[in-house]
Amino acid sequence: MTEPFVHPYIPNTAPETRAAMLAAVGAASVDEFYADVPEALRLGRPLDLPEPLVAEQDLARHVTALLAKNVSTHEKLSFLGAGTYHHYVPAVVDEVIGRSEFLTAYAGEPYEDHGRFQALFQYQSLMAELLAMDVVNVPTYDGFQATATSLSMAGRMTGRRRVLVASDVLPAKLSKVRDYVRVHLDLEFVATVDATADVAAVAARLGDDVAAVWVETPSRTGAVEARLQELADAAHAVGAVLVVGTDPIGYGVLTPPAEQGADIVCGDIQSLGLHQWFGGAHGGFIAVHDDARFVMEMPSRLFGLATTDVPGEFGFGDVAYDRTSFALREEGKEWVGTAAALWGIAAGVYLALMGPQGMRDLGEVLLARTRYAQQALAAIPGVALGDGALHLREFTIDLSDAALTAGSVVAALRAQGIEPGVPLGEHELLVCVTEMTSQRDIDRLVAAVGGLVDRAGLDSGSALVDRRTAGLDTGSALLDRRTTPTSQEQYA
């Protein structure tokens, strides 16, 4: 370096220090340290990067201004879900995971990072209670990875290739899972009936070459699987594993999959105390029964209790450490790396705050608001529910009879400050409500959608265009709804 560059993040740039250190090493310049880097590979010019903002206040101003261009769900009324959910994050959660000691810890031993081990053991334990399962991992990256790994575990355990996909799966999740498992597993899709599994069709395709039946509940459309036990029994009859992908948010009131025959339960913990963060705060859990056959196939870290030299003192350590890629390179099960531990600590704090009653109350609010929103939207002439299944938090509405595309509804309502949901099909809109969307918020959505429907009815020209372009989709949607009593009737 030609002249000193002093920066608060780099203490040893002071010229005197640098000279003293070089002298101690016996080097004339820093260049000597790069002797092994061939001259031809040297960049030989400064990187072409934006001018830095070296003063902290300038940096803060710049980044704050950039982020202020965003218009968040605090300002927009959001009914968006599809993998990332807007739940309340208690202040204590942010306080705990913002603590420097947790935030900047990493790979300390159980002695020096006792608190981290205990916090994550507690996360495992709190999740285990919610899921009614005895083994939960230290979080992996996200629910996508957790599901991909769970299916891989089933494949390794059974030595089989076929996986029956019994539910509607989020497309991005399916994309990840498919690419991850395709060397070892073949995914076969069994069409759902009324948004949940077609148990008879799944049973008909089961055989002793099936590694797993994969169920998602709530599904891509928020449908809760009602016949999990039957699916489990059918899978177990041929030695297959029942893998259930889920969101743990509802298990204060809903029966956990483990009590309906699930062998591996997996999913995402973003709902449990993590902000939306533009989809950037996800963590994956994998839960199994306390059965070594399953546990030894888990690639993630598992923290376990241990005794110490002092009676009454809890120690911790890695359970069955030789499973992991840290220990035996490619002989490990997949790999272990930096994943989502901090989010696990957050989810643990969240569950500790919520307690049994909090999770029950929350489950009830979610069920109640979901049904309320379903009823209110379906009461709009021309708007129908996508199916008759029980839903938690998310559900679809069919707009074909209202002569509206989902995209047009989204565009129109965005102009009113509302994100009404995520289009799934041309006329199908996925709507999400949480404890953050109040009755008034839902009423506002309903009024806005109702207004659009009214206008669409008045503007017959555009409605005709909509109907024509809808074409076959409209027909199939009608056909679908014929298989069940219309949702409106059911909920009336």
Binding site: P110, Y321, A327, L328, E330
Partner: protein
């Protein structure tokens, strides 16, 4: 409980430039040159580490210079359970090992070198099945016992005598005859007796029950052993890196009650050959050796759980790669024993066995038998790395001769070893020495070593007898 055996003549030949200390003549010569053994002080250095954490430990040992002195020097209390001759002999060591095991030692520390390790292995092999209270004193009518050649390349012929005396005189014979003949040596004692249990061990060996020996379960029972390095030759991976390290392991053994153990080969070189500058380690048996405990659990796979898993993974990877219709010539060693277990076939520990389509077709085959097998159809030799020298061929598996390997064709070897065995070579190449220049040259270069399912390492192979040829990394 700990046991200690000191070979008070271990290491005398080293400083004296005698390339070893085996044999009374060598020892006498060494003493004449002013050499003295450091085994005693190294043993007490190891025990001093034990004493630091277990000041009241009692140590089972042998009278006088074979252990008692060292225990006292370390400030611990000796419990003498065996005597020794004067001068001490290899048979004393074997008898002592057996006596320590009989007296309840769970870990036998021995200060010496490879020769001592071999004698300890011999003694524990007897104790493993037998271990009667007076094992060395039971006299029964003896049998002609064949078959030990597969154990140690030796043949015991016993008449009427107590085992220790038999063994002692046998070793004296050997001392006189030079150890280079050990492999084919005949232990002829004229009159000896072997106790019933020991005899049944031998019968097992004869009757193809060598698979049990392959795991060396019967040979050492649950008794573990650990070498305190004090010899000239220490090719066997049964030694701690230093007396202190041995002591630390022993202390941990006492603290924990025991430690995970790992079967390790006992190797020794032909000293007569070594004096002619040829290194030819041979495999003599197995010892169960404790592993370092991982004190920091999160990083603990340096312990034997990891090591054994690695051996298992390598064996599993080899089994995955074995095809139908090919005769596999399984060489000796612990990894091959694990492979045999994986395949569900019996394995002679030191022999070469032929496996075809998952079935054992020939056990303990001779070179000629192997040639006959190879000529029946496609075949491949499956070998691991023998000891710390890195030999694939030419040491411990001489049955896989140049002629046999030559018959195997272009891709004669399936090499199987846990990664750690390659790492332990410290960057030195693998070696082949079949005695045939062309065969060796054909193997030199790089070879794929199966380390696990879907994993191999590529590693250099040298033919040291033909330096300058082949790859030199």
């Amino acid at each position: 409980m700990l046991g200690l055996i000191v070979n008070p003549v271990a290491g005398v030949g080293g400083p004296a430039g005698l390339a070893g200390s085996d044999g009374a003549d060598v020892q006498r010569l060494a003493r004449e040159r002013g050499a003295r053994s450091r085994a005693d002080e190294r043993a007490s250095a190891a025990l001093a580490v034990v004493a630091a954490s277990h000041p009241n430990a009692r140590v089972l040992t042998v009278a006088g210079a074979m252990g008692e002195h060292a225990v006292r020097a370390a400030g611990l209390e000796p419990v003498v359970v065996a005597q020794s001759g004067e001068p001490t002999s290899a048979a004393d060591t074997a008898a002592a090992a057996r006596a320590l095991a009989a007296a309840g030692a769970t870990l036998v520390l021995f200060a010496g070198g490879d020769g001592t390790a071999r004698d300890v292995a011999t003694g524990l092999a007897l104790a493993g099945r037998a271990a009667p209270p007076e094992a060395t004193r039971i006299e029964t009518p003896g049998d002609e016992v064949e078959g030990l050649d597969t154990l140690a390349g030796a043949r015991y012929s016993t008449g009427e005598a107590s085992v220790d005396r038999v063994a002692r005189s046998a070793y004296r014979d050997l001392e006189g005859g030079g150890l280079d003949t050990l492999a084919g040596a005949r232990y002829s004692t004229g009159e000896a007796s072997v106790d019933r249990v020991a005899r049944s061990v031998y019968r097992d060996l004869e009757g193809g029950g060598l698979d049990t020996l392959a795991g060396a379960r019967c040979s050492t029972g649950e008794v573990a052993a650990l070498g305190i390095p004090a010899g000239v030759k220490m090719y066997s991976p049964a030694f701690a890196v230093s007396p202190s390290a041995a002591g630390a392991l022993a202390a941990a053994w006492l603290t924990e009650g025991s430690l995970p153990t790992q079967l390790r080969e006992v190797l020794d070189v032909d000293e007569a050959a070594l004096r002619r500058a040829r290194v030819e380690p041979r495999l003599y048996g197995m010892l169960r050796v404790p592993d370092r405990p991982g004190r920091t659990q999160a990083r603990k796979s340096a312990t034997s759980a990891g090591e054994h898993a690695a051996v298992r993974a390598a064996a599993h990877g080899a089994a995955d790669r074995m095809e139908r219709g090919i005769r596999y010539l399984l060489g000796p060693g612990g990894t091959m024993a694990e492979l045999a277990r994986e395949l569900g076939v019996a394995k002679t520990p030191l022999g070469v066995d032929v496996v075809l389509d998952g079935e054992l077709v020939l056990a303990g085959a001779s070179e000629q038998q192997l040639l006959d097998e190879v000529r029946r159809g496609p075949a491949k030799a499956v070998v691991s790395i023998i000891g710390g020298q890195g030999f694939l061929l030419g040491r411990g598996n001489q049955q896989l001769s140049a002629r046999v390997v030559g018959e195997l064709g272009a891709d004669p070897l399936l090499v199987v070893a846990p990664e750690q065995k390659l790492i332990d070579l410290g960057g030195r190449p693998l070696l082949v020495d079949t005695g045939d220049r062309d065969v060796d040259a054909g193997l030199a270069g790089f070879i794929r070593v199966v380390t696990g399912p879907a994993s191999t390492s590529l590693y250099p192979v040298h033919a040291p007898e033909h330096e300058g040829e082949g790859h030199a990394p």
